[in-house]
């Protein structure tokens, strides 16, 4: 979506901004009916999107777009109701309509869709009020090619009705109670290429029917009781997260030889199936076997085209590193977080993966030595996660005196492509992190630790390209925040868990730097909406929700997680420590100007936080 805007010519962009500047501006062009009808679809779509983003769109304004617009994306808009839908029903040229997460959409508000004869794509994901009766309306949209109805209220009976939509090439039924009988009734959908039935009631018996979909290239059977992958000749992408892969049918002959992407996070295997799923998969480029009980990683030797490999939370360790080294220079992304790999493993691996762009070593035992190997041998690295490791920021020289310790993070400077760095790690100090301020190519940096102070925040303001900066759980002060000069490029500043900051200080920061989105417990924000807008259109949002839930995202972003972390903050320091903090070095790092927040004030604030929750 944003990409399209980037590509639009600058004057088109200026016109869009001016047209959507205010409600008054809209009134001055909305009666130009002839011009509106002549608008090329991509401009009409862009104008509609701009109006929506500026909160200037209302049902009757939709009328002016009914001939020109081909694509409407209303995901997550809670205002969409029957009145909106009545106007949208008149969009004769509409090809694509996204109503995912529109909570007021129900069966009767869907009725106007029956008139959208051009419609080929419809996304109703997570519209929980849509049930079988709503599916009846869809039956008249005969041209429908792509349909997402995951996590709606549709049941077995409603799913059977979809059999009449013969043109479907994509069908997402994720989280619905799809049964074996349903699969039999849907066998006529021979154009199906993408079929998602995660979390359904489908069993091995029903999965046989999937074989009839001979054009299928994507299949998601995650969280089902299916124990064997159907042998579909052209299947390129198979998801069977959390499945127990225990048997192989005798009819299997092609052994999924076209497979390019295999996602089996959390799956379990028998010895026989483990060998089957991974043997001679030379065409495969993407493998996710995170959270599986796999012990033997020798299968990697044959996967010579592998680009993406996720081995996180497995038994992977230094003794298996040689197999990853065999994959060699095709590998772009490697996730070995929460494994037993140490710096020794990184040393063995680093000369063999020269084109690695993404590397996660979080929650491992790697220490500062690994930084040296990474920095010298992986020149293409763009994204590096070293959170929760044994990295201290210093490499001890022979002499045990502290003066002899060399800062290790300075070596990262040789990674000229590095854009994203994560060092969320409670034991890193300001001094250890000080070399980071010279990593001028960084666009995303996330730090987290109770020993970080204003010093770190201030030194990072020298990063000229930083877009997103996180300094979480740190002992930042109001005064320090006031003196912080964010780089011009900064868009997001995450200060969650910086408990010393007051509501006023946060509000002041937001006011001084309106372009920076500040994240903190004291900021009221509509993150859910923003997140929705960030989701790329091409992948159904459903898979995101699933990914974060299933893969046990290392950076939980649920509100529950946030509130938990703020509780941690409150119990972390007792009164005595708070008093002691008044004279801590952090307050001396800054020129004494103005007044510091006195301890009683901090305590008062601290108490009020406790009482609030």
């Amino acid at each position: 979506m944003e990409m399209e805007m980037e590509m639009a010519s600058p004057l088109v962009r200026l016109c869009l901004e001016q047209a959507c500047k205010s409600g008054d501006a809209v009134e001055r062009w909305r009666l130009q009916r002839r011009s509106l009808e002549r608008l090329p679809p991509h401009l009409a779509d862009a104008l509609l999107r701009h109006l929506l983003r500026r909160r200037l769109l209302f049902p009757s304004l939709l009328e002016v777009f009914k001939h020109s617009v081909e694509k409407i994306d209303l995901r997550g808009e809670s205002s969409i109701n029957a009145e909106w839908m009545a106007y949208i029903g008149g969009f004769v040229n509409l090809l694509s309509l996204n109503l995912s997460d529109c909570q007021r959409i129900n069966n009767s508000t869907l009725w106007p869709i029956t008139g959208l004869t051009s419609l080929t794509e419809l996304d109703l994901s997570r519209c929980s009020k849509v049930t079988d009766a709503g599916i009846k309306h869809l039956q008249s949209v005969a041209n429908l090619e792509k349909l997402w109805i995951s996590q709606t209220g549709v049941t077995e009976a409603g799913i059977s009705l979809l059999a009449s939509l013969k043109n479907l090439s994509l069908l997402d039924l994720g989280g619905l109670p799809v049964t074996d009988r349903n699969l039999t009734s849907l066998q006529g959908l021979t154009k199906l290429e993408y079929f998602d039935i995660w979390g359904s009631n489908v069993t091995n018996e029903g999965a046989v029917s999937i074989l009839k979909f001979s054009n299928l290239s994507f299949l998601n059977l995650s969280w089902t009781s299916v124990t064997q992958a159907p042998d579909i000749p052209h299947l390129e992408c198979l998801h069977m997260n959390k499945c127990a892969l225990l048997s192989i049918s005798e009819t299997h002959c092609s052994a999924l030889s076209s497979l390019k992407k295999l996602v089996l996070s959390g799956a379990t295997f028998s010895a026989e199936t483990e060998a089957f799923y991974f043997a001679s998969k030379s065409s495969i480029t993407y493998v996710d076997v995170s959270k599986t009980p796999i012990q033997n990683f020798s299968f990697l030797e044959t996967m010579t085209k592998l680009e993406h490999l996720d081995l996180s939370s497995t038994a992977f360790g230094d003794d298996s590193v040689e197999f990853v080294a065999c994959v060699g220079d095709t590998l772009r992304n490697l996730n070995v977080s929460d494994t037993k790999i140490t710096s020794t493993g990184v040393e063995i691996l680093s000369p063999h993966v020269p084109r690695l762009e993404t590397l996660s070593l979080s929650q491992t035992f790697v220490d500062d030595l690994s930084i040296l190997y990474i920095s010298t041998m992986m020149p293409c690295l763009k994204d590096l996660d070293l959170s929760m490791t044994s990295i201290k920021g210093f490499i001890q020289k022979q002499s045990p005196q502290e003066e002899e310790a060399e800062p290790s993070l300075a070596a990262l400077k040789s990674l000229t492509s590095l854009e994203t760095l994560s060092l969320e790690h409670p034991y890193l100090s300001d001094t250890a992190l000080s070399p980071l301020s010279s990593l001028t190519g960084l666009t995303h940096l996330s730090l987290k630790g109770p020993s970080l102070t204003d010093f770190t925040l201030h030194s990072l303001s020298s990063l000229p390209n930083i877009v997103s900066l996180g300094v979480r759980d740190a002992v930042l002060t109001n005064n320090g925040l006031e003196k912080f000069k964010p780089p011009l490029s900064l868009r997001t500043l995450d200060l969650k868990g910086c408990w010393l900051l007051t509501k006023d200080a946060i509000a002041g920061l937001c006011k001084r730097h309106p372009h920076v989105k500040v994240k903190h417990e004291f900021v009221q924000d509509s993150t859910s909406l923003d997140q929705n807008q960030l989701l790329p259109r091409s992948s159904p949002p459903q898979s995101f929700a699933k990914a974060s839930r299933r893969k046990n995202n290392p950076r939980p972003e649920t509100s529950a997680a946030i509130s938990r972390s703020s509780i941690d903050q409150r119990v972390k320091y007792n009164r005595e420590e708070l008093v002691a903090l008044q004279d801590s070095p952090l307050s001396r790092l800054l020129p004494r100007e103005g007044e510091f927040v006195s301890v009683p004030e901090i305590l008062a604030d601290f108490d009020s936080v406790i009482h609030l929750t």
Binding site: S9, L11, S35, L43
Partner: protein, 96 residues
């Protein structure tokens, strides 16, 4: 003498502007520079049967504004809301 080009609107109004300014539009640029292709590249005259005089005038203003902007003079380019739709379509056609 500075090289100029002539842009003619739907109603037949002629705008004579610097070639350099007209080159802000990718469409005009390719018309003027394509070797032996368009007659425009010889005569330096481009006719726009779909762009009204008001809009073409605004487009010419934008060309000059854009040149100045690229040279570091950061002013705002004013667009009356009434012109946004037609101007957007012209800008889209001209790739400017």
């Amino acid at each position: 003498m500075r090289e100029t080009v002539k842009l003619i609107s739907m109603e037949g109004f002629e705008f004579v502007i610097d070639r350099e300014a007209a080159m802000v539009s990718q469409t005009i640029r390719s018309m003027l520079t394509s070797p032996g292709g368009f007659s425009e590249s010889k005569d330096g005259v481009v006719t726009f049967p779909d762009i009204s005089t008001t809009i073409l005038e605004k487009i010419c203003q934008y060309f000059y504004w854009s040149l100045q902007y690229s040279r570091g003079k950061e002013t705002e380019f004013q667009i009356e809301p009434e012109l946004t739709l037609e101007l957007m379509m012209a800008a889209n056609y001209l790739h400017t």
